[in-house]
Amino acid sequence: MTPLTAEETIAAQAKTRSEPAWLADRRIDAWRTFESSPPPKRSDEEWRRTDLSWMNWSDFHPSASQLTNGSAEEHLPVHLSAASIVLVEHGTGTTVTRVAPEAKAAGITAASLSTAASDSNQLVESHLATSLIRPDDGKFQALNSALWTGGVFVHIPRGVQLEAPIVILKTSNDSACYPRTLIIADPESSGHIVEWWLPEDSKSLSFANGSTEIFVNDNADLTYTHVQQWPSITRSLLSQHAQVARDASLVSTNVTLGGLFHKGSIKATLSDPGANVKLNGISYLDGQQFVDHHTSQDHKTTDAVSDLLYVNILDDTSRSVYAGTILVEQDAQRSNAYQQNRNLMLGSGPRADSIPRLEIMADDVRCTHGATTSTVDPAQLYYLNSRGLNRDDARTMIINGTIEPVLDRIPSTVVADAVRTALQEKIQSTSSN
């Protein structure tokens, strides 16, 4: 029997999952785009500092593996134990393991993206990979659009305000995974969504390529937090794009702790007046970890505010690249945009590159950006020592002091506490080496 072509495999798998024809077609189109589009080159500004020589483009193919769901809520971070909804995304499948009665009563949808598409969810058809992250954005985005499995769809209906977070726990025991998340917050809704990549059950994960699309509609108020604790062999690429509408607000936080190589493309489009966006980032790197974050604050209209704070803590011979663009389009008068990148080096081995960029086409705007790179200040250490803290505790306090201003910007206390705990675990594990 002749082996199936990649396109035939994609079509067959879509059928197995009972996906609608439009989705199968989009997957096949995305695969064609993936195959025909050129790989990123080091001469491209975005990839100038990012080594992709480990990538073998001919390795990628639709996998026929069907894996069982991994362990579920047992790994839920303790501070998130009051989550209203918990989903477990395990490589090929997504399972909802908890829905609080108030979340159910409010009509919140939190489900497998594949299932939502199969259930003829119109929102999925109209929003998935059509505007924010499209296959023609780049080779990785095309690959994800073709091969994602399971996936997560969260929809908070109009006026629904949910304080307890919606938590998506993610693992994969395959060697590659393609997570895809679509979040839609309807007008006047609010909620906290956490995507948490757990180190458990993902031991053999060597490649991850994810996409997350977030729509924050008029007057909605959304918090999105992404925590990455991949094993030390994982190389990952992640695209996130949020669109924030009139008088809506988004606080988006990316916490990068694990993996060997991580490239994040984080974009926020402020599409209407009154949009307010905070973009937060914390990366804590050790060993030979490499993290590259490219961010974009795209002001399309007037009277919007964006405020970015990305902090990198680097130990051993780890490396970070931060490249951020503030784009203020011609009609975006009275924009306020801030961008700050801080790097704390714990020794002489690490390296941090910081490339802030302003592209301002309007003339009545306030934009500031800045980058600092520092080491642990001996004067600070001496001061803390003089109050009885030993060297290790003093150093940890200074590291925490670098991180805390970012955690302060996360509106949900339980989410901030969960992130803080994960960071402490990483700090403890590196200082005990």
């Binding site: 600070q380 001496y382 803390l384 003089s386 109050r387 030993n390 505790d393 306090m397 200074i398 670098t402």
Partner: protein
């Protein structure tokens, strides 16, 4: 020399007859600085300084710029840039100079800095709680700590919101000094060195800070007030005043000495210019 002999006697009592606790306790409660020589970048700043500060007494150390006042403060606390080339410092029976800075603090020594470091992202309250726990055998409960902190902040007329601010970041000069005295009040050391705590303070802040220190005065606390001007000593009246010139104590007396210095200046002690700095 007198102190040396006394300490030698007490030292031998300590070794041979531990049954005389009173004498030993008194000796151990004294911060005893003897023939201290300290260099910074190979320039000698302290040139054989002798000073004893017993618990329960307030001593003022006055001197012109460059005489070695802040060098003494930092050498006592163990700043790595200050190299002790000769002499000794003892407190509570311990060779202070053999201890790292954090152990000196836990032994009961405290330095209120002239220029406290800013530690962004670290809140005053959480920092102080950790510093307090570092010197306790059992951790203080969150509620007990809160109560203690509020009581001490009240003493210094500080807004409770202050506890949630990042340590020294964006503080005015007066706030920094007040925060130093707050730490003194919470950590309850046995020897406190106040390094130019009056500098940068307006008269109201000076009064509040001084009132705070005065309320902390007790038989359990020895204080060394380091200052350039007599002004602070109008508020914190010392038991003893010492004059430091070119890295040595050249004169000692009661609080009247400070007033005389204010009127007559340091010229009476001859050439007060120094190669080093404070």
């Amino acid at each position: 020399m007198f102190f040396t002999i006394v300490r030698q006697i007490i030292g031998s009592i300590n070794e041979e007859s531990p049954a005389t606790p009173m004498t030993v306790a008194n000796s151990q409660a004294t911060l005893a600085i003897e023939n201290l020589h300290v260099s910074v970048n190979e320039t000698e700043i302290l040139r054989g300084l002798d000073l004893n500060i017993p618990k329960g007494e307030v001593h003022a150390l006055m001197g012109p710029n460059g005489s070695g006042k802040s060098t003494l403060a930092n050498a006592l606390m163990g700043h790595p840039a200050f190299e002790v080339t000769a002499g000794s410092v003892h407190f509570k029976g311990q060779d202070v100079l053999a201890l790292p800075t954090d152990e000196r603090s836990r032994l009961g020594m405290f330095l209120a800095f002239q220029y406290p470091a800013e530690i962004p992202g670290v809140r005053v309250a959480s920092f102080l709680r950790m510093a307090l726990n570092a010197r306790r055998t059992d951790e203080i409960s969150a509620m007990d700590f809160r109560r203690l902190l509020m009581e001490k902040m009240d003493l210094l007329k500080m807004d409770p919101k202050f506890a949630n601010r990042y340590l020294n970041e964006g503080f005015s000069g007066g706030e920094k000094k007040r925060n130093e005295v707050l730490q003194l009040a919470v950590l309850q050391p046995e020897i406190a060195i106040l390094d130019e705590t009056d500098s940068g303070l307006d008269i109201d802040a000076l009064r509040i800070v001084s009132d705070g220190v005065n309320q902390l005065r007790s038989t359990d606390l020895g204080v060394l007030v380091i200052t350039h001007y007599q002004r602070l000593l109008n508020y914190i009246v010392p038991d003893h005043v010492h004059v430091i010139i070119n890295g040595r104590v050249v004169d000692s007396g009661d609080s009247g000495l400070a007033k005389r210095l204010e009127a007559e200046g340091y010229e009476q002690y001859g050439d007060t210019t120094s190669e080093g700095t404070d």
